[in-house]
């Protein structure tokens, strides 16, 4: 357990609630690691880690925020599931004197948040498009396999990708209206079907997030197109890194979740201690390719430390 | 007032009714008589709007009458007591009585305004102490049957249809019901009454109509026809012996019941049964005969007492008791006795599959052959063995349930109202089979509310009252009056047990 709110703890311990979008992906565990790292460095900070299980569950996330207000934490670090849905709870927290830092995904205008710490997903999508263009020599048919309807951060990646890919006249997006769903089975099924349809003339495929990418990778192998169809993923996983190594995958757009967690906690503690913060802090986005994947930076981003 | 002519009704390949005609008159009771599966219930269902006839015409009070729904028939003043219970088990008694009636005032149920009528209806059928708020599903079958009758009375009907209302009622309630029917007749209502008991028919009805295989084969005034004639009209041949006896000898003691008590009934029941003995149990509704049988079979927990079979205490579970040779025929064939959505063969074989299997694998051909044999043995009227049980007539369902018990080849038969709803001809066949079982050394417990059959078939008869077995005598030493007196007598020790 991260929280150890025993009564005899010293008064000066700051309790910071860190609320991810969901708790069942590797990404969030790295965020947790970063937050914990900041807490350790600061010494007098306790991180309360809590979030809904699946990333589409806005109702639960609202409950969690309200629960944290009830507990009376000293600050909230939140990755909102929906930019509008969390406005009121955040407003309520601020009303109760609890400062809020938003990370990973944006929140609608309104509440006076301390700062917004995030990857620019739109730029990430553009980087994916550029990597794709390079991998397929700027010509051919490509597929954009979406995640689920209504998910903010992936929508931005999708938009970034589509906007940038439009700059290449010889690249045609043959499918961009299919959703892979939030699990690998449905992603593989969908990718299987799409490869069925476009496989022969396909140059590349972009899967916008981790669960998507795994299913798609399996489908590409299954269809015997591994290496032939260029494949760009977003966020790393063991399977994807392996694929990057053996030429089945041609690029992974990476974020820096550890930094995101670390910087968010640092920012909010600084704020509580009276310092102001930048309105938006980018934690950067990176592109790992078969060529650069062995570099130290990319090794760290490809294998981000996670909380135990 | 009711004219029916040329009514026909088919169910798939089965012709249930074929150009049936009859007439019921105001202030008279028409008895509808026929073998199991003759089409009696189907006819009443057509009259009550539950089924629509394929062809034919009907008129009520001179107006054409073709009810397209039960509601329609009810509006025209037709009430019915169905053969199978039609009560919603989850509703209270009073709500069941009011079911289907429009509310008073904007769809609200002002139960308090109806309470008088409900109380009156319950009193008429002899349930004055029944709590109208009690859950219907918790009541005994007999009580539910009375509730169902009360519901028909609570409507302001001109024509009341009774489909075997007495098949699960004991004598006292039958008397009360007849009194009631008599009152209704005097008030000028028309009544159609189905029963397999000819003496009942003689007591209550003025006219008769006989159906055979969906045809009208005769009708007229009861005074002008003898029982024998009716029976031969029904079955198309003469039935000479209504209560055939098979000589059998009574052997060694087999089943000993000592101070058996359930919670709350039966209480403190002790008796002993021998090989080849048919033991009858008489009693009023709620006397606890059903409970006693269920305790013996393990379906109800026994609070106290021991049951020894061949000197050894019975195991606890139903399955084991069945292996030890006990078999029960349930009085509730609709929900417990039969799985209504399964075929006849499936029902016959249920629990008896061990006979047709090796190492758990079935021999379907053997099963089918054996089941066909049993169907013929008890003369089930059905298209074939694959027919679903709920498409059978009531009496034929009862035969299937009985045949399963025969197929089980038990040693001790616990029969709860085995002849319920069975026609005269088949009944005598069943008595003969019971005699044969006894002759083969089996032991039978025969619960029935129909005293003549108890007196004719049993070797020994016990009477139960309020959960106790009050008196046991050889059948020869009983007559109907004595049985009735014993059944209504309060057991002497009842006060003690209340506090025990």
């Amino acid at each position: 357990r991260d929280s150890n709110s025993s009564a005899d703890a010293t008064q000066s311990v700051l309790r910071i609630a860190v609320i991810p979008k969901g708790t069942s992906h590797e990404f969030w565990k790295s965020v947790h690691f970063g937050a914990q790292k900041a807490a350790k460095e600061l010494g007098n900070v306790e991180v309360i880690w809590r979030g809904p299980v699946v990333e589409s569950d806005t109702g639960s996330q609202i409950e969690v925020v309200k629960d944290m207000i009830t507990i009376g934490v000293d600050g909230i670090v939140l990755a909102p599931n929906q930019k509008g849905g969390l406005v009121d709870p955040v407003q309520e927290a601020i009303g109760e004197g609890i400062p809020v830092v938003i990370f990973d995904s944006g929140l609608d205008d309104g509440p006076e948040i301390v700062s917004y710490v995030a990857t620019d997903n739109y730029i990430g999508g553009q980087m994916a498009a550029e990597a794709m263009a390079k991998a397929i020599d700027e010509k051919g048919n490509v597929i954009l396999l979406r995640y689920i309807a209504g998910s903010e951060s992936t929508e931005q990646r999708e938009n970034g990708f589509l906007d940038r890919i439009a700059d290449y006249p010889d690249i045609t997006v043959v499918s961009s209206d299919q959703y892979a769903g939030d699990n690998a089975t449905s992603a593989k099924e969908k990718a299987d079907q799409l490869l069925q349809l476009h496989g022969d003339s396909l140059a590349g495929i972009f899967a916008v997030c981790e669960p998507n990418a795994n299913g798609t990778l399996e489908a590409i192998k299954n269809a015997g197109l591994a290496g032939k169809v260029k494949f760009i993923g977003f966020d790393p996983s063991d399977a994807l890194i392996g694929a990057l190594g053996n030429g089945h995958c041609h690029g992974i757009v990476l974020q820096d979740p550890v930094q995101m967690g670390y910087q968010s906690v640092m920012t909010i503690v600084d704020y509580i201690n009276g310092e102001s913060a930048e309105e938006f802090q980018s934690t950067g986005e990176y592109l790992a390719t078969p060529e650069n994947m062995d570099e130290e930076l990319y090794q760290r981003l490809l294998h981000p430390p996670t909380i135990e | 007032m009711l004219e029916v002519s040329g009514i026909a009704k088919r169910f798939g390949a089965t012709v249930a009714l074929d150009r049936v005609s009859l007439a019921a008159e105001r202030g008279r009771v028409l008895a509808l008589i026929g073998e199991n599966g003759a089409g009696k219930s189907t006819l009443l269902k057509v009259l009550s709007g539950a089924h629509q006839s394929d062809s034919g015409t009907m008129s009520l009070d001179g107006q054409p009458f073709l009810p397209h729904s039960p509601m329609d028939a009810r509006r025209r003043g037709v009430a019915i007591v169905y053969q199978e219970l039609t009560l919603a088990p989850d509703l209270s008694v009073e709500d069941n009585l009011l079911l289907g009636q429009p509310g008073t005032g904007m769809g609200m149920l002002f139960r308090s305004r109806q309470r008088e009528r409900i109380g009156e209806a319950l009193r008429q059928v002899g349930l004055p102490h029944l709590d109208p708020k009690a859950r219907t599903g918790d009541q005994s079958i007999a009580t539910q049957q009375l509730i169902e009758i009360a519901r028909a009375l609570a409507t302001d009907a001109r024509l009341i249809l009774f489909d075997e209302p007495t098949s699960s009622l004991p004598a006292a309630d039958v008397d009360r019901l007849f009194q009631l029917i008599d009152d209704l007749r005097r008030k000028g209502l028309a009544i159609i009454y189905i029963s397999h008991f000819l003496e009942e028919v003689r007591r209550i009805a003025d006219d008769y109509a006989v159906l055979r295989d969906g045809h009208s084969v005769g009708s007229g005034q009861l005074e002008q026809i003898s029982d024998e004639q009716i029976i031969s009209l029904m079955v198309g041949r003469d039935v000479t012996d209504l209560f055939p006896t098979v000589s059998h000898t009574i052997g060694d003691p087999r089943l000993q019941v000592r101070k058996l008590s359930g919670s709350p009934i039966p209480s403190d029941v002790s008796f002993e049964l021998r090989r080849g003995e048919i033991f009858g149990l008489a009693g009023l509704v709620g006397a606890g005969r059903t409970e006693l049988l269920r305790c013996l079979f393990g379906l109800r927990p026994a609070r106290d007492g021991t049951v020894l079979l061949e000197g050894r205490p019975l195991p606890n579970s139903v399955g084991r008791r069945k292996q030890w040779g006990l078999g029960l025929l349930s009085e509730d064939r609709k929900t417990e006795g039969l799985a209504q959505n399964l075929s006849i063969i499936e029902n016959l074989a249920m629990g008896n599959h061990g006979r047709y299997s090796r190492l758990g694998w079935l021999n379907l051909a053997a099963r089918s052959r054996d089941c066909q044999r049993w169907m013929r043995r008890v003369e089930v009227k059905a298209e074939n063995g694959q027919q679903c049980v709920d498409e059978l007539s009531g009496g034929n369902q009862q035969k299937v349930a009985f045949a399963r018990l025969l197929a089980q080849d038990a040693e001790v038969y616990l029969l709860d109202e085995p002849t319920k709803g069975i026609d005269v001809g088949t009944k005598s066949e069943i008595y003969r089979m019971m005699g044969e079982l006894a002759a083969a050394g089996k032991t039978l417990v025969f619960v029935s509310s129909y005293l003549p059959e108890l007196l004719a078939v049993c070797d020994t008869i016990g009477v139960m009252a309020r959960g106790r077995l009050t008196e046991v005598r050889p059948a020869a030493e009983w007559n109907e009056e004595d049985l009735m007196t014993a059944a209504v007598a309060t057991p002497a020790a009842s006060e003690e047990t209340e506090f025990a």
Binding site: R50, G59, T70, Q82, G84, G95 | G49
Partner: protein, 357 residues
């Protein structure tokens, strides 16, 4: 004296109410655990408000589901119908209404509400009509409409989340699910019970009255208890079914309003999975999926149980993984305890009965 007797009979009623007993036990358990290991804020007015609000979000559609389940049906489409209706509301408040402060805003808001809510009712009506006309099993029909409503929602929302113009929202709507400490924002001034909770209780009372006091209510029970009996007794089973589903549609629509007030946006895919939670509340409250049985108070308490457990686990900072296990165990134990009061499992009581002598 009279009051004392009243209180006595209320506490007796509580003892007879299995789900309520289970809820009390769960609250006690978490209060003790929270005081020992947690922050001690579980048993507080504020937390009660949060729990009541989130329970109300489940309870309101669950009231409609109670009717359906009592009538022997089921509605798998409740979740997506709810978010479809909520999305329609969000669109109305994005595109069609004017600023809440502007003159004549009342009419516009009423129209928007009517439109949004109408969608929910239509969904219910559609279910009811298909089920009664085609005589297909409700499970399949509502499984079909579940995905249809999801698709429709995504079509009208353009596959994304719909955000209303916040200026369009009147204050009462904005604070429907308010659980903060500004007492003026509650309906009953200075009695801080979330408005959503009050709505749930009010609707619950109406449904209970419907079931107990009206012919229609009794017919619902009869239809669920034994459809063939109901038919033979002259109850129009088909029409009753249609009405039950349409009525449930109203509750789905009100649930959608609460959902919208809670998250202030409409996302059609939010609803997938919600149906199970809604059905669970009914079944936890004693509803039987074979029809005929179910109770309003049970359903309300069932929703509270679900949300109390999840809140308690958060308060104790139990990780999600273990929270799942705990929720599962508590659900089973809660119903088990309810059963024990009613003499289930039979074998246990048979054995105890024997031993008692």
């Amino acid at each position: 004296m009279n009051l004392k007797r009243r209180l006595g009979s209320i506490s007796l009623a509580l003892l007879n109410h299995g789900p309520a007993l289970a809820l009390i036990a769960i609250v006690l358990l978490f209060t003790i655990a929270d005081n020992a290991f947690g922050s001690g804020s579980f048993f507080s007015g504020r937390n009660a408000r949060v729990i009541i609000n989130s329970a109300a979000l489940v309870a309101v559609p669950a009231l409609g589901m109670t009717l359906i389940i009592i009538a022997g049906g089921i509605d798998l489409s409740a979740g997506t119908a709810l978010t479809l209706s909520g999305t329609a509301l969000a669109i109305a408040f994005r595109d069609y209404t004017i600023d809440a402060q502007a003159a004549g805003a009342g009419t516009w808001i009423a129209l928007a509400l009517l439109g949004g809510l109408g969608v929910g009712v239509l969904c219910g009506l559609l279910n009811g009509i298909i089920i009664s006309v085609t005589e297909m099993v409700p499970f399949i029909v509502t499984l079909g409409t579940m995905t249809i409503f999801l698709g429709l929602g995504q079509v009208i929302a353009d596959e994304s989340t719909v955000y209303p113009q916040t200026e369009h929202l009147p204050d009462w709507l904005r604070y429907l699910c308010y659980t903060g400490s500004n007492e003026e924002r509650y309906w009953i001034p200075f009695l801080p019970i979330p408005s959503s909770g009050l709505i749930a209780i009010l609707l619950g009372g109406l449904v209970a009255a419907l079931l107990r006091l009206t012919v229609f209510g009794r017919n619902i029970v009869a239809v669920g208890s034994s459809p063939s009996t109901a038919r033979l007794c002259g109850i129009r089973v088909g029409a009753t079914t249609v009405w039950v589903y349409a009525l449930a549609g109203i509750f789905v629509a009100v649930g959608a309003l609460l959902y919208f007030a809670n998250v202030k946006n409409g996302n059609p895919s939010d609803g997938t999975g919600k149906e199970l939670e809604i059905i669970a509340a009914v079944v936890l409250g004693g509803g039987s999926l074979s029809g005929g049985r179910g109770s309003v108070s049970g359903t309300l308490v069932g929703a509270l149980i679900i949300k109390t457990i999840s809140s308690g686990c958060t308060m104790l900072s139990i990780p999600n993984t273990y929270t799942h296990i705990i929720i599962g165990v508590i659900i089973i134990v809660a119903v088990l305890i309810d059963g024990l009061r009613n003499g289930t499992p039979a074998w246990l009581f048979n054995r105890l009965g024997r031993r008692a002598d």
